[in-house]
Amino acid sequence: MGKLMDIKYGLAATFNSAKELFDAAGLVREEGYKEWECYTPIPVHGLDAQMGVGRSKVPCFTLLGGITGFCTGMLIVWFMNAYDYPLIVGGKPYFSPIYPFPVFYELTILFAAFGTLFGMFFLNRLPRHNHPVFEHPSFGRTGDDKYMIVIEVEDPKFDDDVTKDFLKSVGGKSITLIREPINS
């Protein structure tokens, strides 16, 4: 274990109402920030669009999983029943898309579910056990009565002073620099 150090994660600003946060989020988007996030105690309708976040990419993984499952099912049946060990069962052909359809179908669903679950994990970068925003002394209140916008250092437009002033100008309160502890 090396010495405990920390690096800058981002700048946090709190807001007192959903409306303040909603308006501020629009301004942050217009300002051109990309690496930022809103934290709210309640779901705020339309916030995704206000932040300029597109639709989730999880369905792509679902579709991919489904297609993989369907093809895998076909391959299994063809390989086992028609190629490797041809066997007549119940007077049905060695291979046909009909009698083994439950296999294709079940595997389609199974793999689509896998695609959904693991695609979601992948896109959300899960599992992770901690998050730098937890270092913020009053982050817990975003689960109660505070709304928060955090602009990350990663953002190409991020600048300690400019971003700080900008967050202030959009109505942010108690602007705090979040520092992320790391082991070096």
Partner: protein
């Protein structure tokens, strides 16, 4: 709409109804005297299309009620107007029952088992057919008549009650109407499920009484739900673009209806395939003939035109709408969803055609003793005329309900109305 336009549409619909039903009825009378089955099949097909949509709408209204769902009141009111069609549908089905009861020697012209003297494909009569003898406790004219009347009584009473409860709330705002609506739906869903299941057995499955499938009622339910959702989407979109639902019917409602539409597309495929799959696997002649006559000419074994209709259903009624509705943009974009809703309705019509029209016509001297009824024939002509006639009659009843001033455009005093208005994805 001004009074003149209203009256103009009403007159046109009435004319369409009289023309379509007039031709259909003339066909029935001609068929009765000549023994030609095709006008009866056409009539059944034409009526069933509108019946299936109405049953689906009835189920949707009750499902929305029983789940006490937040987003639905805006949509539900439009569906309640459509339920006004049921009494007219009952009238449209009446000729078939009347002929079964009073048709004399041609009573069994549509459902051959009604007449014990009807010849079967095996060269005997219905009375001597063990496959009918074993079912005679269920498939007899008296019980059949009671059942048919019972089904329509269930549909008509439920729809009248649901409409009354919903419309009455507009006047007094009493939340008890909502509770009443939920209670009647709790009773109404199983009642309607039974009525539509046995209705499908009686009206369609008994056309070939030797054949049986426990999936058949579920198929009819799934078809009805799909077409009812398509009609709901088309209706709400039209009303939101041209008329009073503008800004009330939102993208979120549209999206949810389209998701339900996708779900029932999968469900339809699931149960349709299950029915095929079980019969295919078991491979019992009593059951397989039903699919054989929808694929091949039973005398030569060659692929018949019905094969292409069957393929059309697999790819056109399942694969295409399924893949199309997977995409978010296709669900929320007005023209795109309109296209697929019309597509589903067209293929639902084909699905009913595929279920009702093919049948075994006894042809002495044929290799297997019968021939499958062809895809194209006079039944299509009679079918289209009754389709138009019944459709105009139902549309007229529904428009009348919309224009009757019995209710507000949306259930303004429904306890859930604000949540429905503010519905959000």
């Amino acid at each position: 709409m001004t009074e003149n336009i209203k009256k103009d549409i009403d007159v046109k619909l009435l004319a369409g109804a009289i023309l379509g039903l007039g031709i259909g009825l003339a066909g029935l009378l001609m068929g009765l005297s000549s023994g030609d089955k095709s006008p009866f099949l056409g009539w059944l097909w034409g009526c069933s299309f509108w019946l299936s949509i109405s049953i689906g709408l009835l189920m949707l209204v009750m499902i929305f009620r029983i789940f006490n769902s937040r987003w639905t009141p805006v949509v539900r009111r439009q569906q309640e107007h459509a339920l006004a069609a049921f009494p007219w549908l009952a009238i449209c089905f009446a000729p078939l029952l009347l002929i079964a009861l009073f048709g004399g020697e041609n009573a069994g012209i549509l459902w051959s088992w009604i007449n014990p003297e009807s010849p079967t494909v095996d060269g005997i009569t219905v009375a001597n057919d063990v496959l009918h003898q074993k079912k005679a406790g269920y498939l007899n004219l008296y019980f059949f008549s009671i059942r048919l009347i019972g089904y329509f009584a269930i549909f008509c009473i439920l729809s009248a009650k649901l409409r009354k409860y919903s419309f009455s709330q507009d006047y007094d705002g009493d939340p008890n109407w909502t509770h009443k609506g939920m209670k009647i739906s709790a009773f109404g869903i199983p009642a309607t499920a039974l009525a539509l299941t046995f209705g499908a057995f009686d009206l369609f499955m008994s056309l070939e009484y030797q054949w049986f499938s426990t999936m058949y009622g579920v198929w009819f339910f799934a078809s009805g739900m799909r077409s009812a959702l398509a009609v709901t989407i088309l209706g709400c979109l039209y009303l939101s673009q041209k008329s009073f639902l503008n800004g009330i019917y939102k993208q979120a409602h549209q999206y949810d209806l389209a998701c339900l539409s996708l779900a029932f597309t999968v469900f339809w495929a699931y149960i349709s395939f299950s029915q095929y799959f079980l019969i295919y696997s078991a491979n019992i002649p009593e059951e397989t003939f039903w699919y054989n006559i929808r694929e091949i000419n039973p005398n030569t074994g060659e692929t018949s035109a019905w094969f292409w209709v069957s393929m059309g259903l697999i790819f056109g009624h399942f694969f295409f709408p399924f893949l199309y509705l997977l995409f978010y943009k296709n669900k929320i974009n007005g023209p795109r969803i309109t296209f697929i809703a019309l597509w589903i309705l067209a293929f639902h019509l084909l699905d009913l055609y595929w279920n009702i029209i093919p049948g075994r016509e006894i042809v002495p001297g044929a290799y297997v003793g019968y021939e499958a009824r062809p895809v194209l024939g006079m039944h299509l002509f009679w079918g289209v005329s009754s389709l138009v006639g019944v459709g105009c009659l139902c549309a007229r009843a529904v428009l009348k309900s919309f224009n009757a001033n019995e209710s507000e455009i949306i259930p303004v005093r429904d306890p859930r109305i604000m949540e429905s208005l503010n519905h959000h994805e």
